[in-house]
């Protein structure tokens, strides 16, 4: 059981890293949002999550928060979501986006792609929720939470690589 960690050593020492302008903004607003939890409701973004049973859950999210933050803050009942707490060491926050929204999400890093490759059946519009920040332009979007294993009701077949 060993998912791992982004290739760069510096990341290991928790040196601040940003992926670019957009993500830097994401971090700033993330810290900001920490102190201003009471944003006016019209500043919030409506997001629909479709869970693994096909059930729709609608939330009002704060711009700048990551989608993992949203799931945790709103206490959405998604088993095992975000096991590594947003550090790119697992793929349990795998989400599938609508194609139009996906195009606006900005570039994907090698490290995020590495983890997505370990998820169960990644699609062409898959991303990790911990790497996506809520933005006003996403108003009304629907994201799907995909199955994390073939089928919980089927006997398990261990196919992933050996690891610890």
């Amino acid at each position: 059981m060993k998912p791992a960690r982004p290739g760069s050593r510096a990341h290991n020492s928790l040196t601040p890293y940003v992926t670019g302008h957009r993500d830097a903004a994401c971090i700033r607003s993330r810290q900001f949002s920490c102190y201003t939890r009471t944003l006016r409701s019209e500043d919030k973004v409506t997001i629909h999550f479709i869970n693994r049973d096909g059930l729709k859950m609608t939330v009002k999210a704060t711009p700048g928060d990551s989608l993992l933050d949203v799931v945790i803050d709103q206490n959405l009942d998604l088993d095992g979501f975000g096991a590594c707490e947003g550090t790119l060491a697992c793929s349990t926050c795998h989400l599938i986006f609508e194609e139009e929204v996906f195009k606006t999400l900005g570039p994907i890093t090698d490290e995020e792609m590495d983890m997505l490759d370990l998820s169960y059946k990644p699609t062409d519009t898959s991303r990790l929720g911990c790497q996506i920040c809520v933005h006003k332009s996403q108003e009304g979007m629907t994201v799907h939470v995909p199955e994390s294993v073939a089928d919980l009701r089927q006997p398990d077949v261990g196919t992933t690589s050996s690891s610890s």
Partner: protein, 501 residues
């Protein structure tokens, strides 16, 4: 190779952790009132990720079930503490969720209890409605070749246990006095071992690696690590993340053989994306590989189509001096290709051989069915075959493979099966069972002193305190005796005096 920047930021991490701990899903102080006698009682054998994820899901999907986790060591978390590499701290974040489970009002942790020795599975079955076996894979597959037991040959399990402070491996003292180390196997554990052997000390000293291992690595003469597999580049078992870490490991450069990658680039067209990206990354490393390029003094490389034939001893037969590898060719193609020996061999001079061909589960108790060929407990969706009331999860259920998410999902599935059986009546919960009330006196009589979750928290704070002094996240206690002393001490003051001794 380009190093992409990653969106991980310290303040964010701590913020996120706070949010997680604020999550209401697991809040609730330990209830003072005792659990009703009539509740269903389940015990989990093994306090690693499989055990904790099974317990977590049982508690979540059943409103009254009481879960007791029994663990052989005085400390919880299994391979998250003793397997995950010290330079992978983010993987260990799962401990935060496990801690919420450990502190849950309907869960209790009983460390320092060896099931199969201190208490039998049969005794547990009498005290609980169901027993979940989640004790993992405690053995290492052996090579079955001459010279395997020579000094200088280590199992990956022991080697990893050594640098991670597993009490039974603390005195391994691997001999790192030769220039080349050979790791047999190409899974993620093999790459962990290679990386730890070659990592700059500045990186390692900020991790929770044991101080003894750090000293041994500081004195290490190992400059080259070869990672050997019986099949080809398209069949490596490790994941891309681990290869990327090797490629960007400071002070090292790849030492690959271009001829082993002949025709590989052309065959990538129809390969699934994960395999394709992994192979492309290796090809990139091969291109940067020709000997003499780069200034890095430490080398790492894959060696493909090689099976170990014999560990070659020194002339006085006292220790390993090299390894003889049989050269294979591949038959079939893709993931299912298999290696066939050509009869030719190749010798590599090396003083350290690490056997990383896989972990292996061992039987725990004659009362539990075990499939010795697959080295797992035979089960259907976590229900142990022909053993009502017995369940299993994690590596002992499906074999020692997969990442943390794999174990999480399969543990959730076992919990699902168990609760389902309660509902359908397959699992009889109509009788009242005493749970730990019957087991604790039994253990006392046998001179076993269990460690509770709050006892573990004393060990945890002592380790964190010692780590802080050394600029590390924690300094692990290595002796079971010391763990017990700390766990059963009265408070932090007592600890400070003790640790100054």
């Amino acid at each position: 190779m380009t190093t992409s920047r990653v969106l991980v930021f310290k303040p964010m991490k701590s913020l996120l952790t706070t949010k997680f701990s604020r999550s209401t899903r697991f809040t609730g102080l330990r209830r003072l009132a005792s659990t009703p006698d009539s509740c269903p009682r389940v015990c989990v054998v093994g306090g690693g990720p499989a055990g904790f994820y099974t317990a977590q899901h049982l508690l979540k999907i059943h409103p009254a079930v009481q879960v007791d986790i029994y663990e052989r060591l005085p400390i919880p978390f299994g391979l998250v503490r003793f397997g995950v590499a010290p330079d992978h701290p983010e993987v260990k974040n799962v401990i935060n969720t496990f801690t919420q489970t450990g502190q849950h009002e309907r869960c209790s942790f009983h460390g320092n209890v060896s099931v199969g020795k201190d208490v039998s599975v049969e005794e547990l079955q009498k005290a609980y409605h169901a027993v979940v076996l989640s004790y993992g894979a405690d053995g290492n597959r052996s090579l079955g070749i001459p010279g395997e037991n020579l000094p200088g040959v280590y199992s990956a399990k022991d080697f990893v246990g050594w640098y991670n402070g597993l009490p039974c491996n603390k005195d391994l003292q691997p001999d790192l006095s030769s220039e080349t180390a050979v790791v047999l196997g190409q899974g993620n554990v093999a790459l962990d071992v290679a990386r730890i052997l070659l990592s700059p000390l500045d990186i390692l000293k900020k991790t929770d690696i044991t101080v003894q291992s750090l000293e041994a690595l500081a004195a290490s003469k190992v400059r080259r690590v070869l990672i050997v597999g019986r099949r080809g580049p398209l069949q490596v078992a490790c994941t891309i993340k681990e290869v990327r870490e090797m490629v960007s490991l400071p002070g090292t450069r790849p030492d690959m053989r271009a001829e082993e990658f002949k025709g590989i680039a052309e065959s990538l067209k129809d390969v699934p994306r994960p395999r394709k990206r992994l192979t492309e990354l290796m090809l990139k490393a091969v291109q940067g590989s020709p000997a003499g390029s780069g200034t890095a003094s430490r080398l790492w490389g894959f060696r493909f189509l090689r099976s170990p034939v014999e560990v070659l001893p020194t002339p006085d037969l006292t220790r390993a001096a090299g390894i003889r590898l049989g050269i294979n060719r591949l038959e079939g193609s893709g993931e299912g290709a298999w290696a066939v020996a050509t009869g030719e061999t190749e010798d590599i001079e090396c003083g350290v051989v690490v056997n990383s061909i896989g972990y292996k589960s061992l039987p725990i108790d004659p009362a539990v069915p075990f499939d010795p060929r697959k080295a797992i407990i035979p089960n259907t969706m976590g229900r142990v075959e022909q053993a009502a009331g017995l369940y299993c999860s994690g590596w002992v259920k499906r074999g020692p493979t997969g990442v943390i998410g794999t174990t999480m999902n399969d543990s959730f599935a076992t919990a699902q099966s168990l609760i389902q059986d309660m509902g359908t009546g397959v699992l009889d919960i109509s009788t009242v069972k005493p749970g730990s009330q019957a087991i604790t006196p039994l253990l006392q009589k046998r001179g076993v002193n269990p460690v509770s979750f709050s006892d573990w928290e004393k060990i945890d704070s002592e380790e964190t305190r010692r780590g802080k002094a050394a600029g590390k996240p924690r300094e692990k206690l290595l002796e079971v005796e010391e763990m017990l002393k700390t766990a059963h001490s009265r408070g932090p003051e007592t600890q400070c005096t003790q640790s100054r001794d």
